[in-house]
């Protein structure tokens, strides 16, 4: 990866709303070049989406999150991809990952209440043909989300002038 690409992606990963003008100043390339590069990243899927990390607790929306680990059975001509497709199409499912270890697939599910999540898992997930077993872990508190610490207490204390 070239330096310019890394620079632009690091800037956007930190703050997706950084303007093209700012990115140009920070990287030393022209605004047009920045636009071109970002268009290219969007086209090729390097940049998938721009989204916002929201603390729904503070906003006053009581979402319930759960991590569901699944054991699945594979059938002839039906690999993990096909199972993942059946899972990720549910709106309640926020992420789907193939994992190593005791389980095969890990889901993050979001619902309005524990009851709703539990029923969703019991009715929609556990009943799928390929799903052998499920193990549900409710999230009690999120401290860090996708690289962003939500309960940061640390503050840099520096003298205002130093040699």
């Amino acid at each position: 990866m070239d330096n310019q690409t890394r620079n632009i992606l690091e800037i956007l990963e930190q703050d997706a709303r950084t303007s093209h003008e700012d990115i140009a100043e920070l990287t030393g390339i022209s605004v047009d070049e920045v636009k071109q590069k970002i268009d290219q990243f969007e086209k090729t899927g390097v940049i998938r989406k721009y989204k916002t990390i929201i603390d729904w607790d503070i906003a006053g929306e009581d979402y319930v999150y759960a991590i569901i680990e699944l054991k699945v059975t594979l059938q002839r001509r039906l690999g993990y991809q096909a199972i993942a497709e059946r899972l990720y199409k549910f709106d309640e499912v926020r992420s789907v990952r193939l994992i190593s270890g005791d389980h095969d697939i890990s889901l993050t599910v979001r619902g309005k209440s524990m009851k709703q999540v539990a029923f969703f898992v019991a009715e929609k997930i556990a009943t799928l043909d390929n799903v052998q077993s499920t193990s549900t872990h409710f999230v009690l508190k999120t401290y860090k989300e996708d690289g962003v610490i939500l309960y940061e207490t640390e503050q840099l204390k520096r003298l205002p002038i130093s040699p």
Partner: protein, 392 residues
Amino acid sequence: MRQKCNPTEFLAKNLQSIPPSGIRRFFDLVSEIDDVISLGVGEPDFITPWHIREACIHSIEQGETSYTSNYGLKELREEVCKMYIRKHGIHYNPGDEALITTGVSEALDIAIRTIVNPGDEVIVVQPSYVAYIPSVIFAGGTPVPVSTDVTNNFKITPESLEAAITDKTKAIIINYPNNPTGAVMKRNELEEIADIVAEHDLFVISDEIYECLTYSGAHTSFASLEGMKERTILLNGFSKAYAMTGFRIAYALAAPEIIKSMMLIHQYTMLCAPISSQVGAIEAIKNGDTQMQKMVREYDRRRRLIVRGLNNIGLECFEPEGAFYAFPSVKNTGLSSQDFAESLLNEKRVATVPGDVFGSCGNGFLRCSYAASKEDIKRALDQMEEFIISLK
């Protein structure tokens, strides 16, 4: 009644020749004003990476709270020496050519005391870090400032160096990447300096604390030049690269005879660098490169922002290629560094450091540290622009 004491009469004479610190004065001014945006800070705006702090905490929990060898932990010296082979191809023996110190500040002091006799002249390339000249004076030496100029991008020229050398000249102190200018010197430019150093049989104290913060090409260590390893006391540390300023941890690399003598002072004055800091330094050197490089890329982006911003608002600024300082000229405003910096602080609450505190040739310049957030840099630039317009 007993005779009254006047403590002033007891002060050592050589201290009186040291002028009050210009930085100190400015610090006092800034402290009286609230909500200052500071571009005046000479340290990273990152907190030490967690893995380093965690290693220190763990070592304290494990009871690693004792003195270490006077030279410093063997493992740290070995890691430092391995790094110099890897990065610069210079071979130092961790047994007798490396000394772990309490910051480069201590290393600088004992390096000078190790080679300077009263009356010896030590050339200090300016603008320079504020401790060089006082440290030479503390050792009884005579500092000889040599100016660098923006027209040469604040690099030493062979002519100016030659002109400052007398038969009393013992050593020269250089610092690239440079605080306060951000200047770097390339290998071929350093070679010219090395020629003069060898010709006049001088010693070099090379403060390379900003080594890792080099933005255009690789840093050349002075000791890596042919014939220079034996003539150089190389000073470097962890403060800037790994955001570890408060840990006070650094090292000196030099010939065994030199390290042995530096050790002599170190063992009676410092004994050893704090063990927790040494443990943190081992962790930094072994596992810190990814995060360090990320910080360097961040500085590099801000460097572009501030240099272009300063030029846009009419403060001409050459491109600094190292450290985290921009050094714009304020000469076209008609104000001295001090007046500009003080008015800017009082009227717009932006703190910078007037260039003349780093030597008289720094007058007409400002040191603006970009170890500050992007937002602060932009706000500071806006304020500075308003200030400059108000001068017209």
